[in-house]
Assembly symmetry: C2
Homo-oligomer: 350 residues x 2
């Protein structure tokens, strides 16, 4: 699965062009046969209430004799990204990108060299960097993500995504996606659900790899977004310049607000892992009929990380899973899954 996901652009183009040649029914038969061969749709999940809850939800919503049946067109599922679909430690991946970009930005704007917070980032002093404040980080975000055309940003970010590696595993960040969650995405799509990513991170960044990595096309990625400004370059060619202005803060209440703006339908299923996803799950659960809400609890320091004040784990300030969120989940019937106990394996490369 991962090797084809990492096929080169050229190979992927050929692959898709070939697929386009097949008459559609043949293509569907092939897929269906493959699914049967693979056996269980959630192979990386341990048997237990969490896995069963997902299967029960899908069976009920796709069985037209069930009172919980949902029309295919209304089968919308939304997924947080950081900590839900891939690793978010030690820091949100896009923030690592921004920090990595600082030297290149300073090279074109030398006046920033001795100005904070850029000076600290250039020093490489990890202890000092860990103390950067939110306004500091915002300055870094605006300096590295804006002021260029959308095409230039796509080039810069794509190159990084294809080469930068996570220090703990020495693997591409896109390899640090959770195999059990890729299976949930696939299982839902195989049952006519339309899967959306609803991330607090930058939606443009995620769109550069969402289709290849998650099977989610760019137009199904909702996330925090910066403004663009339409204009023309010196040759009169239309361009979009990236502007230092937030148009959607897709965290907390911003998630249901962003879903209303960008999708226009209430999800029937929502997946998250932190207080930033709380309102998305509440909004999902407030709809009529079948709804499924799931939170991932990071309790596996051996295979991944263990964090979140719920159940006494340390609060790392990244993807906070508070005791209050845990209590709300239990009260409202959300499924809380334990990475340690519910996932047979975490990464495809294991």
């Amino acid at each position: 699965m991962k090797s084809s996901a990492h096929a080169s652009g050229v190979n992927r183009r050929v692959l898709l062009a070939t697929a386009a040649l097949l008459p559609m029914p043949a293509l569907l038969r092939t897929k269906s046969a493959l699914a049967q061969e693979a056996g269980s749709p959630l192979a990386s999940w341990n048997d237990g209430p969490a896995k069963q809850a997902i299967i029960d939800f899908v069976r009920a919503t796709t069985d037209r004799t069930s009172p919980r049946f949902v029309l295919p067109e209304e089968r919308i599922a939304t997924f947080d990204q950081d900590g839900t679909l891939w690793v978010e430690h030690p820091m949100y991946t896009q923030m690592i990108y921004c920090l990595d970009r600082v030297p290149a930005v300073v090279a074109t704007k030398p006046e920033l060299k001795d100005v904070e917070p850029f000076k600290t980032v250039l020093s490489g002093d990890r202890e000092a960097m860990a103390k950067l404040t939110l306004p500091d980080l915002e300055k870094i975000i605006f300096a590295t993500l804006t002021g260029m055309t959308t095409d230039v940003y796509a080039d810069e970010a794509t190159k990084w995504i294809e080469t930068a590696k996570h220090p703990r595993w020495n693997r591409l960040y896109t390899e640090l996606t959770y195999q059990p969650m890729l299976e949930v995405l696939h299982y839902l799509r195989a049952n006519a659900f339309k899967t959306f990513i609803v991330t607090g991170g930058g939606q443009d960044f995620v769109r550069f790899y969402s289709e290849r990595v998650y099977g989610v096309p760019p137009e199904q990625v909702v996330g925090s977004g910066l403004a663009t400004k339409y204009g023309y370059d010196k040759d009169g060619r239309p361009i979009l310049m990236r502007e230092p202005k937030l148009v959607l803060n897709d965290n907390d209440v911003g998630k249901p607000e962003g879903i209303y703006q960008m999708i226009g339908r209430r999800p029937h299923a929502a997946f998250g892992n932190s207080t930033g996803d709380q309102q998305m799950l509440e909004y999902t659960g407030a709809g009529d009929g079948a709804r499924f809400m799931m939170l991932i609890f990071h309790d596996d320091a051996t295979r991944e990380y263990a964090y979140g004040p719920a159940q006494g784990l340390p609060d790392t300030k990244v993807g906070t899973f508070t005791q209050a969120l845990y209590d709300e989940a239990k009260k409202d019937g959300w499924t809380v899954i334990s990475m340690k106990n519910d996932w047979k394996r975490i990464f495809a490369f294991e």
Copy 2:
């Protein structure tokens, strides 16, 4: 086509549930057979360069031996709505909705009765209403489209859409869609294009009927949008309140900016009819490979309306088609179609 489009919610639900039961290959075969029976994919178009240009574009982008071949996943087409997919005279339909809502709003807020512009709207004096300024109209828009939950707005607007009629034809507004353009939408989708509406009007309003009327699901509607605010009702149930704050003005430069934000891919085809669509067509045309840009010129006063300063028609200030836009279209190779000459029929009911 129109009769099934207007089937009741219950019948449509049954229809879709039945379709969901069919094995997919059979469903596809049926559709394909129907398409063959219907003959030409653009039956309501007169033969000529405009019709041929659409067919040539689709053939080139779907033929993998063509240098202009486009991968299925990248086949994005965007359509303006007012004046491109349905009638925009004498006024944008959503503005008529807002004016119609004024009495109901005043009934709940009697203090507005003697305040302008509400007083003028209540008077029913069409001449005075025609003189309302943009700030007046904005007051009416905010008073009628905000201050309620998204669910209440959906109920109010849906009821209106299902009953209000256009004075000239005495037909539902949703019947005043252009049959030739419905055929273009269908033809593109039959060739794996994903069709989006990119409207200057309110996207939430269009989403209430887009799937039924255009076959475009709500999540593929981009348009001007008002903010919502997440909160809880008196019973603690999550709600989204509609706020008097514009988050996207999806006109002019707002169209490519909105496409980047909401879709995240550059369209390969774009359809419009006014200066409000100019930048969307420019942005579409600035991409590599096969691109198709089309403008509809309203020159048929007998069957619809004739307006736009281009070619000496009156400037009605609705959907303005200027001489400068006409000149740009000619210079850049955009297809300009004449409703009078290129369309065999305009409405399905003709």
